[in-house]
Symmetry: C2
């Protein structure tokens, strides 16, 4: 398992869904109750995000948590 | 968001998939490279599992990571 790649895939997916929504990292961070630098780290594949924050992201992005594990952009 | 409930939902899903496979917590732990007590904690909803370990569990259970975020048992 390529751990760096799976973190990057997750970050790419968060970014794609965020851009679909047309919101900034700042806005997403506010909606999640997380720090903007943390969102940035996620999108750069630098964060090993855990269940609670995965669900916060999914809620703020308006998708089921399972959607964050799909490849590529779009819903 | 009910954090305790979402951790329990995840644990219930791991347990359901593990029982579908007919493997013990010990066997799943070995397949994941994790400790059996950690698997037990996940199934009891006590662990805020992060991305790398979510993927280890999914690989050992033979499902895509997204399947761990479905409700209930069965594939």
């Amino acid at each position: 398992m390529d751990e760096a790649q799976l973190l990057q895939d997750f970050g790419d997916r968060v970014r794609a869904l965020r851009l679909d929504l047309g919101v900034s990292q700042e806005k997403l961070a506010l909606d999640c109750g997380l720090d903007r630098t943390y969102i940035s780290g996620i999108e750069r594949g630098k964060r090993n995000v855990s269940l609670v924050n995965i669900h916060r992201l999914a809620d703020a992005l308006g998708v089921p948590a399972s959607d964050l594990f799909q490849k590529g952009g779009g819903k």
